[in-house]
């Protein structure tokens, strides 16, 4: 996914609202994650305390990020692995390609990795004649369909069962066309047997990393399918792609974060496979990769350190924020136009690709605060979105109409007498316009709002007038 369409958020959102397949998927899955997380949190009395611990661990690590990355790298090298430090996406892509080419790789299996999406690794490998194979079930179908993930832990969130069947029929043409998919399990079974051969044939396996552990030099992946483990165990070479803020100091720090990760994400107490990889195959080992590489990627993170956006680097990618977001729930992930959707994307995307491109995303929030209330590392997401709105305004990136309206409002708000006169006039006229219905189906300059609902008309009196009257009555009573 190279080209960001975040600047087209409004158009994207309109399209999403008019997409019946997407709306069906969103309606089906919308509440499931919320209920599961709530149940998991309720089943662990210490959950809130663990969230505080998780935040503290991440804050401590970020304040000493240079130290912990160097400690991590030294441990990886002591275990026979190699660490590649990459300042930007281009360097990371070149590094991955160079490792693949060094072993003459033809096919590369991949575990689910958002940093890989961010770096557009697949396109780069393909351009150089290497075939990447996504092995996470959700990523696999998206690769078939040439689509991007719409959710950071459930990439095919936007698809319905019929989409899966159609795509499998279109691509797995060697299987009988008349086969029937009685249930979801049949789709899963077909993917499993398809990918089994790919796992065994791949020359290189690329995974992401949920955490890097400085104490041991380990990269950690968390999955339910087992695809990430097959990806990092079977090929000759394992490449772990990780952004620099994934490092944590110790195994104890790591399990404390793991206690809040799965519960916040899928509502599981623990994911099925949590795997710590440390270096390459050891003497006497019967399996495991012969080479182990960690590609450490900055790509904009260090620029967030020391800024008001540093707390965003605490993010452990659980997706609770988007699962609970009314905006995400209405338009899905693709509308956000780049790799990271939902509230965490609305904060992270402007930092990584620029507020000039992604300035609309921090605006795509009702500021209901649900995201912050469920974030396992307590990132103040609405507050950070507000910072972006301010920056966007300061840099004169806000659309002219919006700026003019804000300026007009500011002019009036600083002149109370004029403000009260105008609001009194407006309240009266709206009441007259509404007539006996008491509702307005059309309001000048608010067509977008009234297209979907009526505006209840004011009762003819402003808040100020009413408040003043209540005060007077209160005093006389």
């Amino acid at each position: 996914m190279h080209v960001a369409t975040s600047s087209e958020f409004k158009r994207n959102a309109h399209q999403a609202l008019d997409d019946p397949g997407l709306q069906k998927a969103l309606a089906r899955s919308g509440t499931a994650f919320i209920a599961r997380r709530a149940a998991a949190a309720a089943a662990l009395p210490e959950f809130e305390q663990l969230r505080d611990e998780a935040r503290a661990i991440k804050d401590h690590t970020l304040a000493h990020l240079d130290f912990y990355l160097e400690a991590f790298a030294a441990k990886v090298e002591a275990a026979g692995g190699t660490v590649h430090w990459c300042a930007d996406a281009e360097a990371a892509r070149a590094t991955v390609l160079q490792i693949c080419q060094s072993v003459g790789a033809r096919t590369v299996t991949k575990g689910k990795s958002m940093i890989s999406e961010e770096l557009a690794i697949n396109d780069h490998l393909e351009k150089h004649g290497i075939t990447p194979v996504e092995t996470d079930l959700g990523e696999y179908i998206l690769q078939i369909r040439h689509e991007a993930p719409s959710h950071i832990i459930a990439p095919a969130f936007h698809l319905n069962r019929e989409d899966w069947e159609a795509s499998f029929r279109a691509v797995h043409t060697d299987l009988p066309a008349e086969r029937v998919f009685h249930e979801r399990r049949d789709i899963l079974t077909e993917a499993r047997s398809r990918l089994r051969a790919k796992f065994l044939a791949a020359d290189v396996g690329i995974t992401g990393a949920n955490f890097l552990v400085a104490e041991t030099g380990s990269s950690v992946i968390v999955t339910n399918e087992g695809n990430g483990d097959l990806t990092q165990t079977l090929p000759k070479v394992h490449i772990a792609l990780a952004s620099i803020e994934k490092v944590v100091p110790t195994l104890e720090d790591c399990v404390s974060l793991l206690r809040v990760l799965a519960r916040s994400a899928t509502g599981q107490e623990f994911s099925v496979y949590t795997t710590f990889s440390t270096g390459a195959r050891r003497p006497g080992d019967l399996d495991g990769p012969q080479e182990y590489h960690v590609v450490l990627v900055d790509n904009g993170r260090s620029g967030m350190l020391g800024s008001e956006f540093q707390p965003m680097l605490r993010c452990i990618r659980c997706a609770a924020c988007m699962n609970h977001c009314p905006v995400y729930g209405a338009v899905g992930g693709h509308a956000y136009g780049w790799v990271y959707p939902g509230p965490m994307g609305s904060v992270l995307t402007p930092a990584l690709i620029g507020v000039d491109q992604a300035g609309l995303l921090p605006g795509a929030s009702t500021f209901c605060g649900k995201c912050e209330s469920v974030c396992p590392v307590r990132i103040p997401l609405p507050g950070l979105m507000r910072h972006w709105r301010e920056r966007e305004f300061e840099r004169h990136l806000t659309p002219v109409g919006q700026r003019r309206n804000l300026a007009l409002w500011a002019f009036l708000a600083r002149r109370p007498a004029l403000y009260r006169t105008l609001t009194r006039l407006a309240a009266r006229s709206l009441k007259i316009l509404a007539g006996r219905r008491g509702r307005l189906s059309r309001v000048p300059m608010a067509g977008g709002w009234t297209a979907g609902r009526d505006l209840p008309a004011p009762e003819g009196e402003t808040f100020f007038a009413r408040y003043a009257r209540a005060q007077r009555q209160g005093r006389s009573a």
């Binding site: 662990l44 275990a79 430090w85 969130f157 399918e225 097959l230 450490l296 350190l305």
Partner: protein
Amino acid sequence: MSKETVLASIRRGLRRGPLPADQAMALRARLAAHPRHPIPARSRLDHAGQVALFVANVEREFGTVARVEDVAAVPGAVADYLAAQNLPGQFVIAPHPELREIDWSSRPLLRLREGRAEGTDAVAIQHGFAGIAETGTLMLPSAPERPTTLNLLAEAAIVVLKADRIVGAYEEAWDLLRAEIGGMPRNVMLVTGPSRSADIEQALELGAHGPRRLHIVLVGD
């Protein structure tokens, strides 16, 4: 070169140079001491309570557990499980000294091969290093006698675990690992139930790319 670029950029953000020696020493001490954070109370039980919690959590996560008195009863438990699941009586088993003590001759129909798993193996038997009661999680560190592929490639993964290897929390399993193995093994898997996916319409289906079944033969008490 790019290492220096990345580190310089981080330090610019943090508005400081490399950490002063005393601060670096304090952080090295923290790494060496690896202090624990609060451990949830649920696993603070006596050993019998932890074993019961472990079994309950494994079953909640769609794993199965057969409890046997001693190692001599393992072949019978394995044979019964394979028959009940309609699985072949042929398996690949970890070349672990404790598993080598098992006398399979009581079940002459079982065929076994020692080593790593291949794509064609239907059943694999692994040696369990530890069980974690908190969430019903197995700790399976790689070693020549405990190949990682045994955890992944077969349709049915069977793990032989001694009940006295069950601890309460993850932290206690790490301490066992540090005490008995020393350095970090190449691969440490924490496994909680059989493979699954909810990628199709967010509905849970068991048996994605890893084993469709996870069965634990729990020895002793």
